[in-house]
């Protein structure tokens, strides 16, 4: 009967990550926050795989997400480097190239 607890915990992780992603001013810190959100999501999946008959699918998904997350971090960091070189800063407040 522990599914709800795990799910609630993953929701909390997700919320904390989201908060960080929206408030941190450093691009690397934002990356970390997003990883926290991702971990919240994967915890969700593993919990379901533990407590439902569709057993192993959640774990498979989690492993896939890990692989994707590793790729994401690699590309994300590369972007941070490129950004740092182009704008001489990783402060996301000062980076508004999206603005038309």
């Amino acid at each position: 009967m522990g599914l709800e607890y795990y799910l609630a915990l993953s929701a909390i992780f997700f919320g904390i990550g989201l908060y960080g992603a929206l408030t941190r001013r450093n691009a690397v810190a934002v990356l970390l926050s997003i990883e926290i959100m991702l971990n919240g999501a994967t915890l969700n999946l593993v919990s379901f795989s533990r407590f439902t008959p569709a057993k192993s699918t959640g774990q498979v998904f989690t492993l896939f997400i890990m692989a994707v997350a590793a790729a994401e971090v690699a590309v994300g960091l590369a972007l941070v480097f490129a950004l740092y070189r182009a704008a001489k800063t990783v402060d996301v407040d000062e980076i508004d190239m999206l603005r038309g």
Partner: protein, 610 residues
């Protein structure tokens, strides 16, 4: 005669060669072009020889088949064709040789010869056409070449404008030609020249078809009221004026009427219209020529006038006399234009009153010019005399006295303005600033003049009573043989001598006071301004079209474009407004997303059943 197709094909090949390789040939381009036209001349001579021997041919090959419409192309050789071939190839050969000297300095030398070749090819195709559609295509091609060559010095605005004017004006006539072909097609069922001419047309159909065809002829042959382009066409190089706008292309209209003569002959109305228009044109152009100062324009109006005379001839039924006049005119008018070119080349002006006394320095040019001028004036014994004679006699015998009077008066005026032109340019004292620069033109220019002087002076003899009107007999097409009418001949000689004599007294002897006709004289002004026809066209035809276009344009730019631009303005302003929300801060967007998700969840919990 199976090789007759070579006649247009050789210049056409020359055009293609020069088009692609002309730059490489450079100053040697004329060898290609002149070689082609001389070969064509040789073949034409042989064909004339064969036709005199009594052979003619019509070769037709199917070209297109569109539904029930079968189009043939082919080569029709009869006596008219043979004569025209000779005229075109001989004049074209001489003009091209002359151009070698005249155009020497031009930087588009090869392009000039390419255009001349194309023109010659088109003109030869025109006279050889065995099908009216083929003829129409050549006709348009000839018009295109005329456009290209009038506007050859397109850097000059006047030349570019003149080219456009010529093209647009003749196009009005071309529409008539095309409609005429439509009428003929419905009446006859095909457009092969042979079958169209053999067909028996109802009078109404013949009238309609011939008047429409004549509209085309009016455009090409510069007949009133479509003559306005020809004087302006003198902006082109002078050899071009000689070849196209004096000798050959403007004769295409006359040729069209002559070729379609049976259709015209079937309609009395059409014949009268042709004769009437011819008379008006001849007289009007001759009077304008009296007061012009530009040497080429005088010759241009003279050309219009003589073309009018040919139309008179056709209109009064003197088919062979008209073609005869076309032939002689081609030679002596080409000679005059080439002579004028030689004068301009040397004097660097076209105003005859800035010249004077040129005969001393330019003996060859002056002599040949005199031959051409006398031929044009109808001096007894020379070409123009005999051919004009035929037309006058025919008009008189037919009893068309108003037309006859107009033609006679035209002859008088012609003799006068020719005399004026010659005496002012070649006799009297030379201007001081002319002394140094005037010189005889190079051999390449004088030689063609000399060669051309022979046919210009003497070709008329073939058609003279002295040789039993051999030319007319060769071409005769159902008309009665001509008889020498001594009274007409006497009148003709009298007016020619009177005109020349008066010009001699007025411009060479100084016996008459110079202020005899005041320049403020209204009649003088009327002539000087060419009867204000250009102005009338500008105000009456061009202005309304331009005005209407302006109105439509302002509607387009104001209302239509306004609506379009208004929409764009609105979108842009709305964008400006919304843009303020977009700060480019991705975290703000993320926050908004979170808020959106919350709203969505509430919405789903409240309204949607999960």
């Amino acid at each position: 005669m199976t090789y007759a197709w070579l006649i247009p094909a050789l210049p056409a090949a020359s055009f293609i060669i020069l088009l692609f390789l002309g730059k490489r040939f450079g100053k040697w381009s004329h060898f290609v072009s002149v070689g082609a036209i001389l070969s064509a001349f040789a073949i034409s001579s042989f064909i004339l020889y064969q036709v005199i021997g009594g052979r003619g041919s019509e070769v037709l090959i199917p070209w297109l088949s569109i539904g029930e419409l079968d189009l043939n192309v082919g080569i029709l050789i009869d006596r008219l064709t043979a004569v025209m071939l000779m005229v075109v190839t001989s004049v074209a050969s001489l003009v091209q040789i002359y151009s070698v000297g005249y155009m020497k300095e031009d930087r588009r030398y090869h392009w000039y010869f390419a255009c001349l070749s194309l023109f010659t090819a088109a003109m030869l195709m025109l006279v050889l056409s065995a099908n009216y559609v083929q003829m129409y295509a050549s006709w348009e091609l000839v018009g295109l070449c005329s456009y290209l060559l009038i506007g050859f010095w397109f850097e000059k605005k006047a030349a570019a404008d003149a080219a456009k004017k010529a093209f647009v004006t003749t196009r009005i006539g071309d529409v008539g030609f095309l409609l005429g072909l439509v009428v003929l097609y419905y009446a006859v069922g095909n457009l092969d020249v042979g079958s169209v001419l053999a067909a028996r047309l109802a009078p109404a159909v013949a009238t309609a078809a011939s008047l429409l065809l004549f509209l085309g002829a009016m455009g090409k042959s510069a007949q009133f009221p479509l003559h306005v382009w020809l004087p302006d066409a003198m902006e082109g190089p002078t050899p071009v004026s000689a070849l196209i706008h004096a000798a050959t292309m403007v004769a295409a209209g006359v040729y069209l009427v002559a070729r379609s003569y049976p259709i015209f002959a079937a309609s009395g109305v059409a014949m009268d219209v042709v004769a009437g228009i011819g008379a008006v044109t001849a007289l009007m152009a001759a009077t304008i020529a009296l007061v012009q100062r530009d040497i080429k324009r005088i010759l241009a109006y003279s050309t219009i006038s003589q073309l009018g005379l040919m139309m008179i001839g056709l209109g009064v039924g003197a088919y062979s006399a008209a073609v005869f006049h076309l032939t002689t005119h081609a030679f002596f008018k080409a000679l005059l234009f080439l002579g004028a070119g030689s004068v301009i080349h040397s004097a660097h002006t076209q105003d005859i009153f800035e010249m004077g006394g040129l005969a001393k320095k330019m003996k060859g040019t002056a002599f040949t010019f005199a031959v051409g001028g006398l031929a044009l004036a109808g001096f007894p014994g020379l070409s123009g005399f005999w051919s004009k004679e035929g037309i006058l006699t025919a008009a008189f015998v037919k009893g068309a006295y108003p037309v006859f009077a107009a033609a006679l008066l035209t002859s008088l005026l012609t003799a006068f303005y020719v005399g004026r032109l010659y005496f002012v340019v070649f006799t009297g004292s030379m201007r001081k600033n002319m002394q140094a620069k005037v010189h005889e033109s190079p051999l390449a220019m004088v030689a063609p003049l000399a060669v051309l002087a022979f046919p210009a002076g003497l070709v008329g003899l073939i058609g003279s009573p002295l040789f039993g009107n051999a030319f007319q007999g060769f071409l005769r097409l159902g008309e009665s043989g001509e008889h020498v009418n001594l009274m007409v001949m006497g009148l003709s000689i009298a007016v020619a001598l009177a005109g020349l004599g008066f010009a001699w007294i007025k411009y060479s002897t100084g016996l008459l006071p110079s202020g005899l006709i005041k320049t403020s004289n209204p009649f003088f002004l009327l002539l000087k301004n060419k009867y204000y026809l250009d102005e009338i066209y500008t105000r009456g035809l061009v202005a309304p079209v331009v005005g209407g276009s302006r109105a439509l344009f302002s509607f387009d730019s104001g209302v239509v474009d306004g609506a379009v631009n208004g929409t764009a303005w609105l979108t842009s302003k709305a964008g400006d407004l919304v843009r303020r929300a977009q700060r480019g801060q991705i975290q703000d967007y993320g926050l908004v997303m979170v808020l959106g998700i919350i709203v969505l969840i509430f919405w789903m919990l409240t309204f949607a059943r999960l």
